[in-house]
């Protein structure tokens, strides 16, 4: 029997579609399930109260605040270094061995397992610098972890500023730094912002790097300083899912929903900025 190529194609395309649905449908179901089962838990009390009765009731306020501290701390550290590193790569780096090594280092930094970041943070910040398990240690660890994201997106943003703008500025007698500062950087801001927000989302959701550098199992108060321990939302979800028996499922789903909302909200903002940027491009 002669094989009909068009029937083969139809069968093949059906399987391709099936594979795609196998990925996309569960994503949708997961989100829907979390919203559906988590939403009933979301009350003002849940968001604003400390956990009570061994985390079986009460709220998640300290964990939300802890995560906000960690995210801000990590961005404070990673943003300046990341943007300057991106400027180096897009404006100063020549095509040589050093540049290749830097690029390789960034790829590797992005690939280091998150739990190894946790080990590193423990060894360097907690033990060696004696910061202890603290917001400072956790923020620095998360900051190094999100550095590759910020560098990569910022570099793309800087490189998308047309080369001719740089030539014009230089031809007017502006120095290289003036050109970067007044022409290149301002036009790359939306792209850099996108990268920053993606980094924020990543920092907010990670658990392994903060396990031994900051996260408190149960701390029903707000941290007092950056040398204080803090609860964090992802770790809290881990704790009430696996370490504490008999937690009402509603509370677990509610915590998952709050975490997911925070992370997805940041991603959404990044996506909107990116989309606006594409439309608004003037050159």
């Amino acid at each position: 029997m002669k094989r009909n190529p068009y029937r083969t194609q139809r069968i093949a395309f059906f399987f391709l579609l099936l594979a795609t649905l196998l990925i996309v449908v569960p994503v949708g179901l997961i989100i829907v399930a979390i919203i559906q089962k988590g939403l009933p838990a979301i009350t003002w009390e849940f968001l604003s109260d400390v956990p009570r009765r061994g985390m079986r009731s009460g709220g998640i306020f300290p964990a939300v605040v802890g995560t906000l501290y960690l995210v801000s701390g990590s961005i404070l550290f990673a943003l300046p270094i990341g943007v300057l590193a991106a400027i180096y790569l897009s404006e100063y780096a020549k095509q040589n061995m050093l540049t290749r090594i830097i690029k390789l280092a960034i790829v590797n930094l992005a690939g280091v397992p998150s739990v190894v970041y946790g080990l590193f943070g423990l060894a360097l910040f907690v033990v060696f610098f004696k910061f202890g398990a603290s917001i400072l240690s956790g923020s620095l660890t998360l900051g190094i972890m999100i550095l590759p994201i910020i560098i990569t997106t910022s570099r793309e943003a800087l490189e998308s500023v047309p080369y001719s703008f740089r030539e014009v500025s230089l031809s007017l007698g502006a120095s290289k730094w003036q050109t970067i500062r007044h022409i290149v950087l301002p036009n790359a801001i939306p792209g850099i912002l996108t990268g920053t927000i993606l980094g924020l989302g990543r920092a907010a959701g990670e658990t392994a790097p903060i396990l031994f550098t900051v996260a408190a199992f149960y701390l029903p108060r707000l941290p007092k300083s950056i040398f204080d321990q803090a609860m964090a939302l992802p770790y809290h979800l881990y704790v009430i899912s696996t370490q504490v028996p008999n937690v009402d499922e509603k509370i677990r789903y509610g915590t998952a929903l709050v975490l997911l909302t925070m992370v997805l909200f940041m991603n959404l903002i990044a996506i909107i900025i990116r989309a606006k940027l594409r439309k608004r491009k003037k050159w």
């Binding site: 001719s164 703008f165 500025s169 031809s171 007017l172 007698g173 003037k282």
Partner: protein, 248 residues
């Protein structure tokens, strides 16, 4: 008076030679047109004069360019570019307002006095004959101007910095005939105060505005003569062939 004295200038991009042993002078207050087919080295020549070629890492240079007797490579590069303003082939406004486009260079050279900046911007726009068209919309984006207006804005931006020489790199290649005429008119008026080097692929434009015309071919300077002479009785047969359109 000689503004530029160019001695035995040769330039290579990696292995390819872009300019071959060019020796010539540019006089003060003249419009020197540089013509030639594409890849003849005209633009490379022009970008040597304000050291914009320094940005090309693969470039190698031999010979000398003296500006008023000084080797430009020994001068401060930002000063060189301040003195040698450049207008590019396409109108390239910066993504700023009309006012800020012109004020940009002034500010970069350290002027922070608001009144002086405003004055410099107005003067430059007047000199470039675009003041009347933009004076009521200075805060609008420069991209809202027409192509010809944008190009004259770019001229004003160059003038605002206070150059001595203006380098035009095929400034009308993207413009319609009416805008071209306006830009040319501007150039003719500017030569009273400035020295102008005009690279153009439009032979007729060279004939219209140039005091002297240089013909480049494959990196060599073939002929440099008064414009009337070069267009009526060129010394070289190749010049005649190019001008009359036999190749190019």
């Amino acid at each position: 008076m000689v503004k530029f004295d160019i001695q035995n200038l040769s330039i290579w991009f990696k292995e390819a030679q872009a300019l071959k042993d060019v020796t010539m002078q540019v006089e003060a207050h003249e419009i020197l047109s540089v013509i030639g087919p594409s890849n003849s080295g005209k633009t490379t020549f022009l970008r040597t004069l304000n050291r914009l070629n320094d940005l090309e890492l693969s470039l190698r240079m031999q010979g000398f360019v003296y500006f008023e007797g000084k080797d430009i490579r020994t001068m401060d590069v930002e000063l060189v570019r301040k003195k040698m303003g450049m207008v590019f082939a396409l109108p390239l406004p910066l993504p700023l307002s009309i006012f800020d486009n012109v004020a940009y260079g002034v500010r970069m050279h350290g002027e922070h006095n608001k009144k002086k900046i405003i004055q410099a911007v107005q003067e430059a726009l007047q000199q470039a004959y675009i003041w009347d068209e933009v004076k009521d919309r200075l805060s609008e984006s420069a991209f809202k101007l027409s192509g010809g207006q944008q190009q004259r804005l770019c001229i004003a931006r160059t003038l605002a910095v206070g150059p001595e020489v203006i380098l035009f790199d095929e400034p009308c290649s993207g413009l319609d005939p009416i805008s071209t005429a306006k830009v040319e008119e501007t150039m003719l008026k500017l030569k009273e105060q400035y020295t102008i080097v005009l690279v153009t692929n439009n032979v007729k434009q060279a004939a219209r505005v140039g005091d002297r015309t240089a013909f480049f071919l494959m990196g060599e300077l073939i002929e440099l003569e008064k414009t009337d002479k070069i267009f009526t009785s060129p010394a070289q047969a190749r010049t005649n062939d190019y001008i009359s359109g036999k190749f190019g």
